[in-house]
Symmetry: D2
Subunit: 435 residues, 4 copies
C-alpha cells in the first residue's frame, strides 16, 4: 500500500442521514432498482487521466497538484497504477477507463511507446486479478503530442495518419487483452483551426477510412466490445468533425458504419454544442447509436470544457431516465470524465469528488426508476401521439398516402385541427414529484 | 404607381466614389466577374416577408411600422404586391421569395386560403410579365398559426400533419406555376419545447415521411426546381430537428433523400448553431448538398435571430469564396432574409438596407473572385495535402491497407512525423490583401 | 365568480406524498422556518402581466391563448382583475405585481391612460379589502408602445422623456395608494440598437436625471417603499444600460443614488448576463443594494429570455441561501416573472406553473435554512479567511501599511505562502447533503 | 545578431499593391492622418509574453513551439531579449509590453526574483538606447504560479496579498525606471471558482485596498504613467471581479479611485463579456476612464480567450473611430495581446501575425479618420439629440424640473411624441462607404 490515501477509510453506504463525509448517502451498490443492482445499472468508471495525471494547470497557470507519481518514467507509471487501484478499491467502483498516454510515458519511438503500454497492461492485469474493478474502455491519446497538432486521422500529412493507426492498433490490442468492454475514439484534433488551410472533404474521407479500419480490426481480432465515438463540438480546435450526436450519425451513415459504431456522450460536450445532455441521450437512442456516457457537469456560464463532478440531481435524474428508457447500458457505462478543481489539492478531495458524483447519480437513478415505475410520464407522451394509431393516420405515416391525396382529404373533410395543451408545467411538476 | 417610394429614384451603379445614398457603389449588374455577369453570380432576391409584412414588433413591444397595406384583406394583399414590385424594379433585383401567408391572408378554411393564394399568384404572374424579377423560391408558412404551435409535419396530431400537407401542396403548385427555381422548407416548429412531452423517434419518422411526399410530388408535377431545407438550431422552439447542415445531412441519409434535397443556409442560423457561415457553406459543398443561401447577419452578442442586412465585407467575401469554389449557384441564389431594425420606419430605410446589403455582397464577390483568380490560397491548401498523392498514402485512403499493416510499417520504418506550420496568419493576410 | 377556474380547487398543502396535482407538496405557508413563517420568508407574488395578459406569441407566431378577457376595453380590464384575484385566492399568494399597461388599456392621451389606471386601482383596492393578497410592487411599462422604441428616459426626443415622467408619476401614485411595498423600474428600451446613432454619455445623464426625479418624488409623497432597478443585459435592445448588478451599482454611484435605490434581480437576466443567479444575489448583498427578486428560470441552451417557472431545487436553494445570509427580504419579495409555455393553453396550466414554482422555492428554502442552521458551510468560509484576523493582516486591510512596507516585510521574513485546498467538491457535497 | 529571423528582411511600407508578404501594405508610420503621424496615432506595442514565451500549449496538448531561448535560466532570458529587440527592430514598432515573469525566471525567493527582474531591466535599458522601441507598460504576473491559485490581492491568505504587494512594487519600480508610460493590473485570479468558499465582500475590500496602495506608491515614486486595470469577465476563474468596463467603474467609485485609474480594454475580453469592443471603448470614454487597448480578436464561435491577431478591418475601424472621438491615446497605446495559432511554428509566422495586425489597424485608422473628417456620422448623432438644446428640455436635464411638474406639462400640453426613424441601415452604409 502506498501512503497516498492514508487516513481515508473505504467508502461504505451509510444512508442519507449520515454526516460522515467519507460515506455514501445514496449509492448502495447492491440495492435492487427495477430488479437490477444499482452497481449494474450505473456501471461507474473512474477516469485514469483526470484523477491521476492532470497536474492542475489551466491556460493561465501551471501545475498546482503535487503527486508523488508525477514524472515521465515507468517506475512512476507503476506507482501511479498502485495509487489508482487503491482508489478504485476505496471507492468500490466496478470500472475504470484510460488513455494509453495516461498510463505510461511516451517512448522515443512508437515501438518503445507500445512496449511501455504493454508493460503497464500486464501490471493492470495482475491488479485486476485481486480487484473487482474491470476495464470499461481504453482509448488512444491522439491529441496531446505536437505531432497531432493538425489532427491524427485527419492530418494533412499521411505519416501522421499512419502513426495514429499504429498507436490505435496497440491500444486496441491492450484493451482487448484486459477485457475492455468498449473502445473509444475522441477526435480532439480531428477538426480545424481555420478553414483557410483545410480541405474538408479530404479530411472527412480520411476520418471515414480510419474508422473503417478500426472496425475491420475489431472484427479481425474478435474484440467483443463496442467501438464508440465521443462527440464534441470544439475545443481544442475551432471546429471538430464529431460535433454532436446528430453530426456523428450523419458521418457514420456516409461511411456505412452506423451499425458498427455507437456514441459515448459527455455532458459537458453536449452543453458546449448547445444541447441538453438528455437531448443527446434521447437522440442517440432514437437513432440507434446510444452506447455509453462520460458523466460530468459543465459550468453553464463558462464557454469551455469544465469537466466538473456532477452534483445537480434533477438534471442527472432526467438523463438517467432517458437511459433507462433506452434499455440502460449494455457494454457501456458511466465514466466520470470529471476532474478536481485546480485548487482541490488534497487526496481527500479526489475521494469527495467521486463520492459526490456517485451519490448524485444514485439519487438520480432512484428518481428515474420511480418515473419509470409510475409510468405516468410515458403514458402522457403515448396519449399525446395516440391519434397516429388511427388507420388513416397510420396510412400516412407508412407511406400509403400521397401529398395530393392528403391535401384533397383536408379540403374535402374541412379538417381544422384544434390545438391542445402541451402540459409542460404539469409534466415538470410530475418529474419533480419523483425526485 | 403607389406613392410609397415617392421621391426615391431607381437605384443605379455610380461607382465607389459616389456620395449619393441612393446609388450602388459596388453592385454593377453587368460587370463581368470570372466571365459571368455580377447579377448572374449573386442572384439577389428580396424577401417578401421581412420587407413588406413584418410590423416591427419584438417580444417586448408591438408594431412600429405603419404601412398603407397592413390589413388582412385581399385588397391590401394586392396593394402590397404593387409596392413590392415597385421596390423590385427600383432595386433592379432579379428575384424575390415569399411565404404563402405573407402574400395573402389566411382564409376561414384551407380551401379558401388556397384560393387566396391562387389569386395573388395570378397577380404576381401578371407583374412578372413586365418586371425582370423572377421567383427564386416559394415556401409555406407552417409556424405562425396556432394550429402549428406543436409542429407541422412533426405534430402529435395527425390532422395537423395532413393540414400542413394540404398547405404545402398548394404552395408547391403556385411556386411551380410561377416558375420558381426552388421550393424551401423551414421547420420553425419542427422541434420541441420540452423533451418531456416528445417522442423523438416518432417525430423524426413523421418528418421523413413528409419530406418524402414532397419529393414525390415534385417529380409527379414535373417541378424542375430544387427542394431545399433550411437548417436552424432553435428559436422559436428550444430544439429544432434541422439543427445545422451536418444534422440535415444525417436526416436526409436516414430517409434516403440525400440526392433529392439540398440546403438553404442562413448566416444567422449558422451563427446560432455555433458555426461560422463559411463553415456551413463549405460543409454543405463537401457533402454534396449545397443549394442556396439566406444572406443576412446576426449580431454576435445577441442570442437570437437578428436578421440584419449584411455589412461586413470580409465575412461575406469568405462565404462567397466557398460558394465560388463549390461552383456557384445553380438553381439557388442569395435571398436577403434580412429585416429593417424596428426603429427604421421610413420607406427610404427599406431601400438603404438593400443597397447596403447588395453593395456588401458585390464587394465581397470581387474579393472572392480575386482569391479564385490568384489561386494562391487554394494552391497553399493543395500543397498542404500533397503527401496524400504518394502511392502508399493513396493506398491507405483507398482502403488497400489494414490497420495492422500500417502499424507494422510505422514500426518497421521508424516513422516519426515532423509538424509543419499551418501558416494561418500568412493565409489570413493573403485573404485581406484581396479585399 | 367567473367560470375560468371552474373545477380547480383551492390549493392546499398536502405534503410530499400527495399525488394530487392540485396540491402543494412543500409549500406550507404557516410552517416555521428559522423562526419565521414560510409565507413571510418567501413573500410570493404573482405577475399580472405573464399570467393574465401575455397572448402566447413569440417572434415566429401569434397568439395561442384564448382568454375571455382579451380585448382593449375597461370592461375586459375589470374581468381580468376578477380572474386575477380568483387565482390569487386559489393559490393563497400574499402578493401580486403589475405594470400599468397590463392592468388597463392605453387611452388616447396620457391623461386618459392615467384615468384608466386610477379606475382599475380602485377595483384592485376593493378586492384587496377581502383578499389576503397585497401589492408587492407596481411599475410602468415604458417599452411596449412604439413611442418608446428608442428609449423612455434615454430617448433622443425630450418629449418622450417627459411623457415617461408623466406615466411614471401616475404609476407611482397608484402604487403608493395601493400600499405597494416597492416601485420597480425595468429599462427594457434604455439602451441602444446601434452605437452608430447613440450618444452614450447623454443617455446616461438622462437616465441619471430621471431616476433622481423618481427618488425625489418618492420622498415628496412619502412613499415608504423601496425604489428598485431591474438589471438586464439586453433584449429587446442590443445593449441595455442596466446590464447587471455591478453595472447598476456603478450607475447609482455615478449619480449619488446608491443609498436610495436597490435592485430587483431576475434569474433569467442574470443568466443572460453571464452570471449565476446566486452571484447576482450575493454581489448585490455585498454592495448593499439587494432588494427583491424576479424568480423564474432561463433555458440554459436558449439565448433569450425564456421566463419559465423555476423547477430546479438545488439551484433555487443556493440562491435562497444567499438571500437568507443577506438577512432575507425586507420590503422585497419573490415575484414569479414566469410565463406558461405558449402550448400550455389551459387554465389548469396556469395553476400547475405556480404550484410547481412555489413548491420548488419552498423546498429550496428548507434546504437553505438547513444550511444556515448547520452553519458548517459558513464556518468553512470563515475559517478560510481567518488569517485576516491576525494583527499584521488586519493592518494591511485597514490601510495602515504601504506597498513598500509590505514588500520589505516579505523580503525580510522570506514569506513564501503555501497553497491550501479550496475544498470545492467537499463543500458541494455538503450542500447536496442538505437538499 | 541571433539567427532566429535569418532571411527575414526589415518590414517596410510598400503600398497596397505589393505582393511581398514581408511588407506593410497600409501601415506607413510617417503618413499624416488628421495631422498626426500614423505611428503616433496607433502607438503599436508587441506583447513580450505571447510572442516570446508562450509554448503553443492548450488545455489538450503541450508545447508545439521550439525556441532556442526556452528554458528557465537568466542566460535564456537574455537570449530571449536579444530576439525580442531584433523583432521590434524588424517591425519598427514604437513600443513593447511585458509581465515580470515573461522576462525572467522566478527565483527561489521573492528577493531573488526581484534581482532577476532588475538584471533584465538593465538589459532592456541598454537595448533601448539603440532601439526606437520604448516601454508602453509593465505588469506583474500574479496568476500563473500556484501560490496565486486562489487570487493575489483577493487571496484568503494575507501572506499571498503581501507577496503580491512585494512583486508589484518591484515591477512598478522597474517599469518606472524603464520609462514605462503605464502600469497595468490584470486580475486573472481575482475572482472565484465557486461562491461556496468565497467571501465576496471581504475580497472586494482586499482588492480595493491593494489598488489604493498601488496608486499611493505611484505618487510616492513620482511615476508619471497611468495605472490601468484590464477588465475580463472570466477565464481562468469562473468569475472575475473586473468583469467589464462598467463593473470596473463601479469598483473604482466604491473605493474612490475613479480619478486615479483607467482601463486597458481588450477586444477578446469585451467579446467574452457579451459586448462589442467599440461598446467598451465608447463606454470607458463616456465614463472618463479610457486608457489603452489590448488589440486582438476573439473567435466568435469559441467561448474562451483566443487572442488572435486582428484581421477584420470594419470592426477595427469602428473601434478606432471611437478612440479618435475620445481624443486618441495619451499615455495609452495599442498592444497586440495576440498570439500565433499553435500550429504556426515558424519565425516567419511571428512576423506575418504582426504585419497582418498592423496593416489591419492602419487600414482601420484611415477609415476612422475619414469618418471623422467627413463628420456626417457625428452630425447625424448630434441632430438626433438636438431637441435637448431646447430650453424646457435642457431644464429637465439640468434638474430644474420635478417629476410632477413634467407630468403636469405633458397632460396640459397634450404631448404625444411621434417616433422618427433611427436610420441604422443608412448609417451603416455611411460607415461602409468610408472603408
Amino acid at each position: 500500500m502506498t501512503a497516498f490515501f492514508d487516513g481515508i477509510p473505504a467508502i461504505r453506504y451509510e444512508g442519507p442521514e449520515s454526516e460522515n463525509p467519507f460515506a455514501y448517502r445514496w449509492y448502495d451498490a447492491d440495492r435492487l432498482v427495477l430488479g437490477k443492482r444499482m452497481e449494474d445499472h450505473l456501471r461507474f468508471a473512474v477516469a485514469y487521466w483526470h484523477s491521476f495525471c492532470w497536474p492542475g494547470g489551466d491556460p493561465f497557470g501551471g501545475q498546482t497538484f503535487e503527486r508523488p507519481w508525477f514524472g515521465e518514467t515507468m517506475e512512476m507509471a507503476r506507482l501511479k497504477a498502485d495509487v489508482a487501484f487503491e482508489m478504485f478499491d476505496l471507492l468500490g467502483v466496478p470500472f475504470f477507463c484510460f488513455h494509453d498516454r495516461d498510463a505510461v510515458p511516451e517512448g522515443a519511438t512508437l515501438a518503445e511507446s507500445n512496449r511501455n503500454l504493454q508493460e503497464i497492461a500486464e501490471v493492470f492485469a495482475r491488479k485486476m486479478e485481486t480487484s473487482k474493478t474491470r476495464l470499461l474502455w481504453g482509448t488512444a491519446n491522439l491529441f496531446s503530442h505536437r505531432r497531432y497538432m493538425a489532427g491524427a486521422a485527419t492530418n494533412p500529412d499521411p505519416d501522421v495518419f499512419a502513426y495514429a493507426a499504429g498507436q490505435v492498433k496497440a491500444c486496441m490490442d491492450v484493451t482487448h487483452q484486459l477485457g475492455g468492454q468498449n473502445y473509444v475514439l475522441w477526435g480532439g484534433r480531428e477538426g480545424y483551426e481555420t478553414l483557410l488551410n483545410t480541405d474538408l472533404k479530404h479530411e472527412l474521407d480520411q476520418m471515414g477510412r480510419f474508422l473503417s479500419m478500426v472496425v475491420e480490426y475489431k472484427h479481425k481480432i474478435g474484440f467483443p466490445g463496442t467501438i464508440l465515438i465521443e462527440p464534441k463540438p470544439q475545443e481544442p480546435t475551432k471546429h471538430q468533425y464529431d460535433y454532436d450526436v446528430a453530426t456523428v450519425y450523419g458521418f457514420l451513415k456516409a461511411y456505412g458504419l452506423e451499425n458498427e459504431v455507437k456514441v459515448n456522450i459527455e455532458v459537458g460536450h453536449a452543453v458546449l454544442a448547445g444541447h441538453s445532455f438528455e437531448h443527446e441521450v434521447a437522440l442517440a437512442s432514437a437513432l440507434g447509436i446510444f452506447g455509453s456516457i462520460d458523466m460530468n457537469r459543465n459550468d453553464y456560464q463558462s464557454g469551455w470544457d469544465t469537466d466538473q463532478f456532477p452534483m445537480n440531481v434533477p438534471e442527472v435524474a432526467l438523463a438517467l431516465y432517458y437511459i433507462l428508457k433506452a434499455g440502460g447500458f449494455t457494454t457501456g457505462g458511466l465514466n466520470f470524465d470529471a476532474k478536481l478543481r485546480r485548487q482541490s489539492l488534497d487526496a481527500a478531495d479526489l475521494i469527495h469528488g467521486h463520492i459526490g458524483g456517485m451519490d448524485t447519480c444514485a439519487r438520480g437513478l432512484l428518481a428515474a426508476a420511480e418515473l419509470m415505475e409510475k409510468g405516468d410520464l410515458s403514458d402522457a407522451v403515448a396519449k399525446r401521439y395516440a391519434g397516429w394509431q388511427e388507420p388513416e393516420a397510420a396510412a400516412m405515416l407508412k407511406g400509403e398516402r400521397t401529398l395530393e391525396e392528403i391535401a384533397a382529404r383536408v379540403e374535402r373533410e374541412g379538417i381544422d385541427p384544434r390545438p391542445v395543451s402541451g402540459r409542460q408545467e404539469y409534466l415538470e411538476n410530475l418529474v419533480n414529484r419523483r425526485l
